[in-house]
Amino acid sequence: MSETNKKEQTTTHKIGIYLWIWGLLFVLSFFSYMVDWYQFQGMLRWSLILIFMFLKAGLIMAFFMHLFWERYALVNVLLWPMTAIACFIFLMVAEFEYTLFSRLFYFFVGGVQ
């Protein structure tokens, strides 16, 4: 770490905010565990899992990793590349459906002889 910032003191946040987020994370983890405990199925399970997951991820990034307090220049640099991942996920969903379809199709119907 070869360069030193001219300004020595870095301002910190009150301890309360960390404890709050910490508590929230426990509560959310408990909720997502309950999704399994009560064996919700189908779309309900899916959406609950995803909601709790994104909430937890968001809290960790925003407060524990201080992204909430960072300047937009950094935040945007970090978040925009995720569109490539989103595109990858989206297309791979279409791809696995097609793979599954063709596996079942050729298994039951068979190919052209």
Binding site: E3, N5, P81, A84, L91, M92, A94, E95, T99
Partner: protein, 612 residues
Amino acid sequence: MSDELENKSGYQAQSSETVNEYSGSAVGDVDYVRPAEVSDQDLYHGHSFITKWVFCQDAKVIGVQYFLTAVFTGIVGLILSWLMRLQLGFPGLAGFMTAEHYYQFVTMHGMIMVVYFLTALFLGGFGNYLIPLMVGARDMVFPYVNMISFWMFFVAVAVLMASFFVPGGPTGSGWTLYPPQAILEGTPGSGAGILLMLISLSLFVIGFTMGGLNYLITVLQARTRGMTLMRMPLTVWGIFTATVLAMLAFPALLVSSIMMTLDKVLETSFFMPTIIKAGEVLGYGGGSPILFQHLFWFFGHPEVYIVALPAFGIVSDLISVHSRKNIFGYRMMVWAIVGIGALSFFVWAHHMYVSGMNPWFGFFFATTTLIIAVPTAMKVYNWILTLWRGNIRINTVMLWCLGFIVTFVNGGITGIFLGNVSVDVPLSDTYFVVAHFHMVMGIAPLMVIMGAVYHWFPLVAGRILDEGLGKWHFWITFLGAYSIYFPMHYLGFIGVPRRYFEMYDSPYMTSGVGLNEFISLAAFIVGAAQFILIYNIIKTLKTGKLAGKNPWQANSLEWQTSTVPPEHGNFGEKLPVVHRWPYDFSVPGAKDDFIPQTVPPSEVIDTEVEKT
């Protein structure tokens, strides 16, 4: 005029009281530049031979180390291509050559040239040498990590070369390493060869990540005073964007390497379907070979631009300097580089039109692929418009640049053919594809590398390369490269498939046999011509003309160092302060035809400089 200049200096309204202790001039002055945000970089200076030249932390030495290692692997790749052409042009002439050998040479040639030669040369070599100099930094921001990065690359190359000497030889599965055949018996090098290849790639990714972090943070956080992003030379923009692509694309390669290693070693079935071999069911089952192709090309397509974008950037600078004219549409050029970089993550499956993926993907990927043609064409227009009515110096550097433009346009246009699904299907896996990608990402970036070597050699070594030899080198390479790849398009049209060891008496080869011999002869000559450069370098190092400072009258910071070649720390006592972009050539009213970036506005008050 002077009003404009005052507006340009920007910050006087906010802090008109403070006196700037760094440049010694008061705020409100046209020459005012904000003081430095961070204190001067702390550098580790080597004391012994080992810390100065071997485990060196100076980015310039690391750059040269990268360059030499990459050139060494490049020569291995060149020799492999000779052997391939020998077989294709004159089947059976080389007695030792079996089909297995041929596939191994194809594979190693491809992998070496794309990853270990071009990527390492552009990002590791030119990136390390030029980024700190061009943005006005003392060194890369993490010199120690940078040093480790090179040695990681060195080990990766050593592992790759070791695969030539293991039982079974190197892998022969094609540079794309498609499973299932890459790790199945029967493919040459399916034992130790493929394992070493996967390990070597993983090491390369790890090493490159270390280097890439350095390049990115140096560009983003360690620029000198006055150096805004829009005042950076396009070389830096090209290398920077390529590094961003590398940081985001190499993970896919790492992941696919790990998964394939597990398939090979632990017999997992990530990529391996149920396979019946000679009546016997293998232990694999249920995997998805197409997943590997998606992962590989999610890396592979950005990889094409990792090679191309630095070439775009460098050639823009060379053209501007040697035609004494500012680059046409600088901002457009920057946005085109960034746009191409961003789009390159959304086009990968155009390599997979015939792979059996979801057929609807063709629409999506053909569309995105053709959209990339727009920023690329903008760049070509801008290069030509930069040349237009410029004071062109037809020296070796300029010849290479012109050669690049022609080759690149040629390769780019065939790319439009291949980007359309319906046109691609009959052309898939023919020599048309080989000709296309060699033109566009083999020869074109190579032309830029050559131009860059002739351009920056005076900075690295302090002597100018011989122009006469350089011109011979250029013309043989340029005409020879066209003799090789132009007929290949035709071979592709008549349907000659790529990766075939020998065509035997195929009926459509009647007109192709002579062409194949001609191509091979041209390939031998072009390959041999590259040694002219090596001879030129050795000769110049001994007896070449001394370059002095700034032999090309360029503006960018690397030519403004206190000594030539620059010493460790680059700029002597004080870092330069930047007042303008690097393209103020032939400015009306100026005393010289160039205004270096460090010249303050007060010295060129009556000239019509661009506002940057």
